[in-house]
Amino acid sequence: MMLESINSMINQVATDPIHQFVLNKIADFQIGGFDVSFTNSSAFMLLAVVLAVVLLGVASSKSATIPSRGQSIAEIAYGFVAGMVRDMMGEDGMKFFPLVFSLFIFIFFANMLGMFPYFFTTTSHIIVNMALALLVMAVVIGYGIWKNGFKFFKIFVPSGVPPVLYLLVTPIEIISFASRPLSLSVRLFANMLAGHIMLKVFAGFVIMLASAGGALILLAPVALAGTVAVVALEFLVAFLQAYVFAILTCVYLNDALHPGH
């Protein structure tokens, strides 16, 4: 009887795949009627930033000719993002390198922190990604207008189209432009959310099958193997999504640098 109730309790806690995304307030703050409490999500954002700053700071503090392990990792990260920025935007795109590098490192650290059991994944909440994506779009629009003036709006009126077709093409171009922040944030959010739910469900199967009794217990190792495979996949996705976010940031910033392409 006792064992059964414990079993059902474990089942409920361990197999609720959504529970990991619940926000808990750590410290309550109100500013002007807005709830700006410090939550577990804020805590992990802060942790990601602090970790990134400390690790990269320590790694680059010595700047030795023969790099230590940490320094070469930092150098590889720099080279990776710098190569991406140069490929997508050319040499004059390097002025956006700090933005792209910060976004990449922040998302990468947030995703990787989310891979620790019991850690919160900040990027699994769409509002966080939306804020990052809107920051990118604000830079694109702001810099595009500042640099190119009115010519920036040429991206909505592509050249070489018969004037009648502008009635069709311009709305399509506007939608295409407006869909960018959404596609940036939804992709990251959906991948992290779906991945972590999948992980939890697979891991839940292990407990459910093991506690179901009978021959079903023989299936538990299969679910466990599946969980291990999903963990590996999730590590890949965590890196990949940071990479995709950074590379699309470059693609969009390129529009602000060189409109009319």
């Binding site: 939608i175 869909s179 992709r187 991948n191 990949l240």
Partner: protein, 106 residues
């Protein structure tokens, strides 16, 4: 040990080396492919969504329910297709291959 035996051993070692050496390259290719796949899926899905949102908003403003929603959703569909075509063209050009014939270069 005869000459043939040694040859066999060398060949085996080479094959094993090639096998382990090949793997990271393949994985990198797979990762890039996955990134592209994720990108395509959302690029398309987001078009009609944003189109519908704009149409819905215009309907609210101009009281033209449901025409703007319908029209802008179609625009959104077209925008989604265009997003995918652009992403595909860009990735193909990046891969160094020739752009597909009939697809306008961006």
């Amino acid at each position: 040990m005869s000459n043939d035996d040694l040859k066999k051993q060398i060949d085996e070692a080479r094959a094993a080396y090639a096998k382990t050496y090949e793997r990271p390259l393949n994985q990198e290719g797979q990762a890039k492919g996955m990134a592209l796949g994720f990108r395509m899926a959302t690029e398309f899905a987001v078009g009609p969504l944003v189109g519908a949102a704009i149409g819905w908003g215009l309907d609210l403003v101009f009281h033209t329910k449901p025409w703007m929603l319908i029209i802008w959703m179609m625009f959104g569909f077209a925008a989604g297709v265009m997003n995918v075509v652009r992403a595909a063209t860009a990735s193909q050009n990046a891969a160094g291959s020739e752009p597909v014939e009939g697809v306008e270069e961006e």
